[in-house]
């Protein structure tokens, strides 16, 4: 027994000794945070020969490969990299040569908070990427972006819908987060490396509520002789996660702040694992709404609309969110897509002809390479690679601070995503490092030969720079029943 105790004590002593030795070793080393070296170290070379230091630009793609959306991002990224490299690559002035892009993949699985940190750390620390692009879920991006913030790696976020991904630092006034909110990040310099090239939950909701107030309310008022004072009766059905709650909160805020003639008559949320929604739809039907705003991803949105029309007999106007702009959505909906509305920012199905020539080429190239139409998620990612190229060429170096400055000052023509200025520019101030995307509403019409519905843009009639984008008038779907008077 004594011997045993002796051995145990020895063991503990050894562990403690080694642990403290390790700690001592670390504390001896100076805190090795990557010191932000002064920029513009690039010395212009007089000769025209390429520098021997030249190496490919390493761009990390943060995408969840276990999600269909992540694979769309992957395909779009590969397409962009192929195009850029085929055209010679990215010109780096410091090296006096063009270098290709090397795509480093940070596979984040299902892109949950627990899955993003490891792959992003690997890309940043091991593979020493010059830049990160991607990020899909808000929670995953909020967790994983910290690695990029600390290591001062520019990150063009192309997926997360929460505006916190760029606003939770001091520049964005902490995105309205309370003083003691654990999501705040007090690192102004680190946060300045974050860029949000994506629509946010408030972008979706603005278009949706404006559409209801400006287009749909007048139409039902005149069709059913409702008094002008009667507000449009809107019902919300949403997945109970950061995305669903974000959209719903923004929708409610917008209605109140802009004093819009919209009344929320029902509100139902459900667990993200739900597969059937009849009971929620029944409650909504009993509230007699004029329209239903469905906030979910592809499969559930399609199922909600189908069950609503087929099982519950809720014949109303359904509006879905832009993440449903994907081949699967049209396939799953089938004939039940007739008359459905879709808020979107990238209408790969509403053409040809498309409202932007760039989409024409992108859709054709994507289809030729992958034999399927592109989804919405890849479009931002594709653009982001060109933004990265432009920024590096402006910076003339792969110094990360210089690239950050270049992205901040970027001003290039819009690509696949329309913006209010027609150019890609990142904002400063409260809406920190965001773009101002144009979103629109499409209405689907069933096409019997395709056996799928196809969309046409119905709202707004015109957008800045591009001009008229409207392709059809909004009509009430066949069999439409308005809410209670």
């Amino acid at each position: 027994m004594q011997k045993k105790i002796l051995v145990v004590i020895t063991a503990i002593v050894v562990i403690v000794a080694i642990t403290s030795a390790g700690v001592w070793q670390i504390t001896q080393q100076p805190a090795s945070s990557p010191s932000p070296t002064p920029t513009q170290t690039a010395t212009p070379l007089a000769s025209t020969t390429p520098s021997p230091d030249a190496r490919p630009v390493r761009i990390g793609l943060v995408a969840g490969y276990q999600l269909a959306e992540g694979q769309d991002m992957d395909r779009a990224a590969k397409l962009a990299v192929e195009e850029i490299n085929a055209a010679g690559g990215v010109y780096v002035a410091e090296w006096n040569t063009k270098v290709p892009i090397e795509l480093i993949i940070a596979d984040t699985g299902k892109d949950t908070a627990g899955e993003t940190v490891g792959p992003i750390t690997r890309a940043v620390v091991e593979d020493k990427v010059d830049l990160l692009i991607g990020g899909y879920t808000s929670a995953g991006t909020l967790a994983g972006q910290v690695v990029a913030i600390e290591n001062r790696v520019p990150f063009i976020i192309t997926g997360a819908s929460s505006n916190l991904v760029t606003r939770r630092g001091p520049q964005g006034n902490f995105g309205g987060l309370a003083e003691d909110d654990a999501r705040r990040i007090n690192d102004a310099e680190g946060m300045s490396y974050m860029f949000h090239y994506c629509t946010t939950t408030s972008d979706y909701s603005t278009t949706v509520v404006n559409f209801f107030a400006e287009t749909m309310k007048p139409l039902i008022d005149s069709t059913y002789h409702f008094a002008a004072s009667r507000p449009l009766r809107l019902a919300l059905i949403y997945r109970n996660d950061a995305f669903g709650k974000g959209v719903v909160a923004d929708t409610k805020n917008l209605i109140i702040t802009n004093n819009l003639p919209i009344e929320i008559v029902a509100e139902r949320s459900y667990q993200t694992t739900a597969t059937t929604f009849q009971t929620d739809l029944t409650v909504i039907k009993d509230a007699k709404p004029d329209a239903v705003y469905v906030v979910d991803f592809i499969a559930n949105t399609a199922e909600i609309i189908k069950e609503g029309r087929k099982d519950v007999g809720l014949n109303t106007v359904y509006i879905a969110v832009e993440c449903c702009e994907d081949p699967q959505f049209y396939t799953l909906l089938g004939e039940y897509g007739d008359g459905v509305l879709l808020e979107s920012k990238f209408a790969s199905y509403a053409g040809p002809p498309f409202y932007l020539p760039a989409i024409e080429t992108y859709v054709a190239n994507y289809k030729a390479k992958y034999n399927t139409l592109p989804g919405m998620m890849g479009a931002d990612t594709y653009d982001a690679f060109y933004i990265a190229k432009e920024a590096i060429e402006r910076a003339g170096t792969l110094d990360k601070a210089a690239i950050r400055d270049a992205i901040e000052q970027i001003n290039m023509p819009q690509m696949l995503i329309m913006t209010k200025t027609g150019t890609i520019q990142f904002s400063t101030g409260v809406n920190y490092h965001e773009i101002s995307p144009v979103t629109f509403v499409e209405q689907l019409t069933y096409n019997a030969t395709l056996q799928e519905a196809r969309p046409k843009i119905v709202y707004p009639s015109a957008v800045p720079v591009v001009g008229s984008i409207k392709q059809a008038e909004f009509v009430l779907p066949p069999g439409y029943q308005p809410g209670s008077p």
């Binding site: 080694i18 642990t19 390790g22 670390i26 694979q71 908070a113 940190v117 667990q271």
Partner: protein, 343 residues
């Protein structure tokens, strides 16, 4: 009873075993000094240690003949409790870590009350159901907890080598305590229950009470691991309750060697390594097999996940005592050979 005698015979080897254990600890402690990579230290070695605690907690439950398919509930409860205590009440994070474990154990006690009478499948069901219920409750009270969007956790020590040593200390202490439990009278009772509950009952062991104790102990360590996990990710959200986190400790314990002390450690090392290193060969796999499976843009991730399943099946069918037993046998074989050579 023969097994007990065998166990006592083994006690003579304690000293030799301890040399091995100490050598192992020395190596683990020295790893960061050998491996310079920040990535390997904070993204491979640290999670290995955290999952070693988590898998050991599952293993302890299995040691008493019980199983759980919902251990993620306790991982999550520990993680959320420790983080929320620090944020909302200003409790020092280090204290919060242990309080998280204790709270998880308290919930484990309540769940355990219903579970102790249940056998393998029922228990699996109820525990799985409990993880679903936990997720629902955390979602329901989101305005207080904020788990849906998630939040950053206040750190005890900064990320990197320091965090590695902190994790190492907690893991070493936890596993040492688990070792003491397994070797104590309590452990013998667990073992007796596992091997034959009826017999154990007849020898006067209050099986229900012992199973409850095992449940509480196991959930304590699961909660502790949850707190550490939140420290490691530095963020926590409801995804911690996902079934994958319930299945991980089970796979680690089984692959490593169920009911042995080092099994969960081996299993954790294997699975974390697969996650950390196999993505490296994704592009090779895609080049080789990509054209066969046009439905996915990268065949690597599903093949990797499939590999986990295949390893689990192979281990359960061909080496039911886990990889530990294979190593043990190989070592014994080697010793015998050497002994034979000397003669």
């Amino acid at each position: 009873m023969t097994r007990f005698i065998k166990l006592f015979n083994l006690s003579r080897l304690y000293s030799r075993r301890f040399i091995f254990v100490i050598a192992g600890l020395v190596i683990i402690a020295a790893l960061p000094l050998i491996i310079g990579s920040e990535y390997v230290i904070s993204e491979v070695l640290a999670p290995m240690l955290i999952f070693a605690i988590y898998a050991s907690s599952w293993n302890l439950l299995a040691f008493s003949g019980q199983g759980s398919l919902g251990h993620a509930a306790f991982l999550g409860i520990g993680g959320f409790t420790s983080a929320l205590l620090a944020i909302k009440l200003g409790v020092p994070p280090l204290l919060g870590l242990f309080l998280g474990g204790l709270f998880s154990a308290a919930i484990g006690f309540l769940i355990g009350l219903t579970c102790v009478r249940l056998k393998a499948w029922f228990l699996g069901m109820v525990t799985f159901g409990f993880s679903v219920i936990s997720l629902t409750l955390v979602s329901q009270f989101d305005s207080v907890i904020g788990g849906i969007m998630g939040f950053r956790t206040p750190l005890i020590v900064p990320r990197g080598v320091l965090f590695y040593y902190f994790t190492f200390a907690v893991a070493a202490a936890s596993i040492f305590i688990i070792y003491l439990i397994m070797k104590s009278k309590l452990g013998l009772a667990f073992k007796a229950i596992r091997e034959n509950e009826l017999e154990a009952k007849m020898t006067g062991i209050n099986t229900a009470r012992y199973r409850l104790v095992a449940f509480i102990l196991s959930t304590f360590f699961a909660g502790l691991a949850g707190g550490l996990y939140a420290q490691y990710i530095r963020y926590i959200d409801v995804s911690i309750f996902s079934p994958h986190f319930s299945f991980l400790p089970l796979m680690m314990a089984v692959i490593g060697g169920l009911g042995t002390l080092s099994g969960p450690l081996i299993g954790s090392a294997i699975i974390v390594s697969i996650d950390a290193y196999l993505p490296r060969i994704d592009h090779l796999l895609q080049g080789l097999l990509g054209s066969l499976f046009p439905a996915v843009s990268n065949v690597g991730p599903p093949i990797r996940m499939m590999l986990l399943g295949i390893i689990l099946l192979v281990v359960v069918i061909f080496a039911p005592k886990g990889i530990y037993s294979v190593i043990d046998k190989a070592y014994a074989h080697l010793l015998n050979k050497r002994a034979a050579g000397k003669q």
